[in-house]
Amino acid sequence: MRRGALSGGRLWALLVPYGWLALFFLAPLALVAKISLSKSIIAQPPYEPVFNLSDGVGAWLEQAQKFALTAYRGLGDDPLYLESYLSSLAIAGVSTALALVIAYPLALAIARSDPRRRSMLIALAVAPFWTSFLIRVYAWIAILKDEGFLNLALMKIGLIDTPLTIYATNVAVVIGIVYSYLPFVVLPIYNSLEKQDASLREAAADLGAGPLATFWKVTLPLSLPGVIAGALLMFIPAVGEFVIPDLLGGSDTIMIGRTMWNDFFENRDWPAASAGAIVLLALLVGPIVWFERRQSKGQGA
């Protein structure tokens, strides 16, 4: 496409999404970034900006050297933050891997089902969204707690004698995250499988590949964009997940969302929490950029 003067209509069409992003993404982000570079004080609001627009560039640089990065240095000194990041990445990673293992066969079954039934099956896959997220997470407490449905059922059929402690552990958090985010993983995988040309599978069979070989060599590689999209769609929000670990996790469940919440509301250290948010964002931008590159480079791959 030629770059040049945009016609009035095109300009407006671009202005709407960019305006939206600027207002609801860029502005809050800038605010958080500003707080993260501020000093923590006991006041309302509990921070003092280090930078003021009126000070000029020279004053900014001076201030930057003195205070600005205090909050970020604090993150490095605070083992809680490091532990939170690692634990969040681990919990989100394990959850995403489990979700992929469950979602892929589900998506495959839907994609290979009778075309007339597909939209109904997809509707069923997203049906949990029709109930409040919070209620569904609370429901998991009733299932997973010591005298919950799961333990009662397992004891009834004689698999266990004493209740399993699942509620208030990381296992419960993982179960909750997998359950909550599963539709986000199923949909993109289904989408890429459903688009696949059936004649490719026929060609593989025709060339002597059995059903299993056809899956590994043709179906799975061609659905990878869907798998990656689904994984990112789940992994990124799961890292910052707050509600599920708060409700299902125990006191030893440390996730970054909770740590930041503590800093904001318990310690009233807004700069530290903001710095934590900015670092988390930086950590997550990497995989997104990598995926975008891959998408635009590997047309048809």
Binding site: A203, D206, G208, A209, G300
Partner: protein, 356 residues
């Protein structure tokens, strides 16, 4: 002893819901034969081919490959390869990997695969394109890559679904000759599905003309063209003039009283006296004579228009009844102009008596 057919359909039928796609078809295809399944879309030719490949199971009848019943053999165990209409090249694999796919599935050793791929690349003239992905190939290159992949396993039976359908006209003609050349060199039987009569006529040893799930006629291109059995076949292949009337036959001579005048033909024995009959004449078997010639097979008319086709012209001549006859005449002859009165003349030999 007759040769075992490489592919045999035995009273094969296939229904999809209420529609009968293939209806009691029996065909035998000899090893090394170039066979064309010809018919309009929806005539069942593709379904028939997919039953040979194993993608559809016949509701009735059997499919035999090289004498062995293959009706219930899954596609990946059949000694058959297919070139798909869409080519179905694996988009995530290079040309070389596409060609190697069937060889890897067969469990060949690595260097054997490499050698075979190189051979196929040469055969299909894909040198220098081995590392390209399908989306980096032109239409003709894709077609050749698909052919190379289908040929790589060296099966004695290759199925080609509209192999030239996606190519432009000039490339199509070149590729026809290439396909014939490759088929002769490899000695494998090729079964081509096509709706293009020119394609079938120029490539195939034998053609099966299909209509509504049934075989209308099987024969060599010459037989199909010169001696079509039915009006359907006659009209499907090439241009033809049809005359209807009441027949009187004596011995092998038939005289048709048509609305254009009397037409004499050599009659097959089965045409009964005083029955309705149809006679067909190809445009190139007719000539334009000066107006006023009379007699049998001399039809008076007026030139309506003509189309120049390079080596010949196709004249449309308005006959007595108002019907338009098509007459081909060499361009070297002087052309009568539209409005000029002429006589359309042809020999009894040129007439084909049709079944219906």
């Amino acid at each position: 002893m007759p040769q075992t057919p490489i592919l045999q359909f035995e009273q094969v039928s296939k229904r999809f819901g209420a529609t009968v796609a293939v209806d009691g078809v029996s065909i035998e295809i000899a090893p090394g034969e170039f066979f064309a399944l010809l018919g309009p879309s929806g005539c069942g030719k593709t379904t028939l081919m997919r039953m040979a490949a194993g993608f559809e199971r016949p509701d009735e009848g059997r499919v035999l490959i090289d004498g062995a019943d293959a009706t219930d053999v899954p596609p990946h165990r059949r000694p058959v390869n297919m070139m798909f209409q869409s080519y179905a090249l694996f988009p995530h694999m290079s040309v070389a990997d596409n060609i190697a796919f069937g060889l890897k599935a067969a469990g060949l050793a690595r260097d054997a695969i490499g050698a075979r791929v190189a051979e196929m690349v040469r055969l299909a003239q894909l040198q220098g394109l081995e590392k390209r992905k399908p989306h980096q190939l032109s239409g003709g290159q894709k077609q050749r890559a698909a052919l190379a992949r289908a040929l790589a396993r060296g099966t004695k039976l290759l199925l080609l679904d509209e192999p030239l359908g996606a190519l432009d006209r000039k490339l199509r003609e070149e590729t026809q000759f290439e396909l014939m050349d490759i088929q002769k060199r490899l000695g494998a039987a090729f079964v081509v599905v096509t709706h293009d009569q020119d394609e079938a006529m120029s490539m195939a040893d034998r053609i099966a003309v299909m209509r509504a799930g049934q075989i209308e006629q099987i024969g060599s291109p010459v037989e199909i063209y010169e001696r079509p059995r039915s009006r359907y076949v006659a009209e499907f292949i090439g241009e033809i003039n049809i005359f209807e009337g009441v027949a009187t036959s004596s011995g092998d001579a038939l005289r048709l009283e048509s609305s254009e005048g009397p037409i004499e033909a050599h009659a097959p024995l089965h045409v009964a006296n005083r029955t309705a009959a149809t006679v067909a004449v190809r445009p190139e078997r007719m000539r334009l004579a000066p107006a006023g010639e009379a007699g049998a097979n001399r039809l008076a008319g007026v030139v309506h228009d003509f189309a120049y086709r390079g080596d010949h012209r196709i004249f449309r001549v308005r006959l007595k009844s108002g019907a338009l006859a098509r007459v081909a005449a060499p361009s070297a002859l002087p052309a009568p102009q539209p409005g000029e009165a002429v006589t359309v003349a042809f020999d009894p030999d040129a007439c084909v008596v049709l079944d219906a």
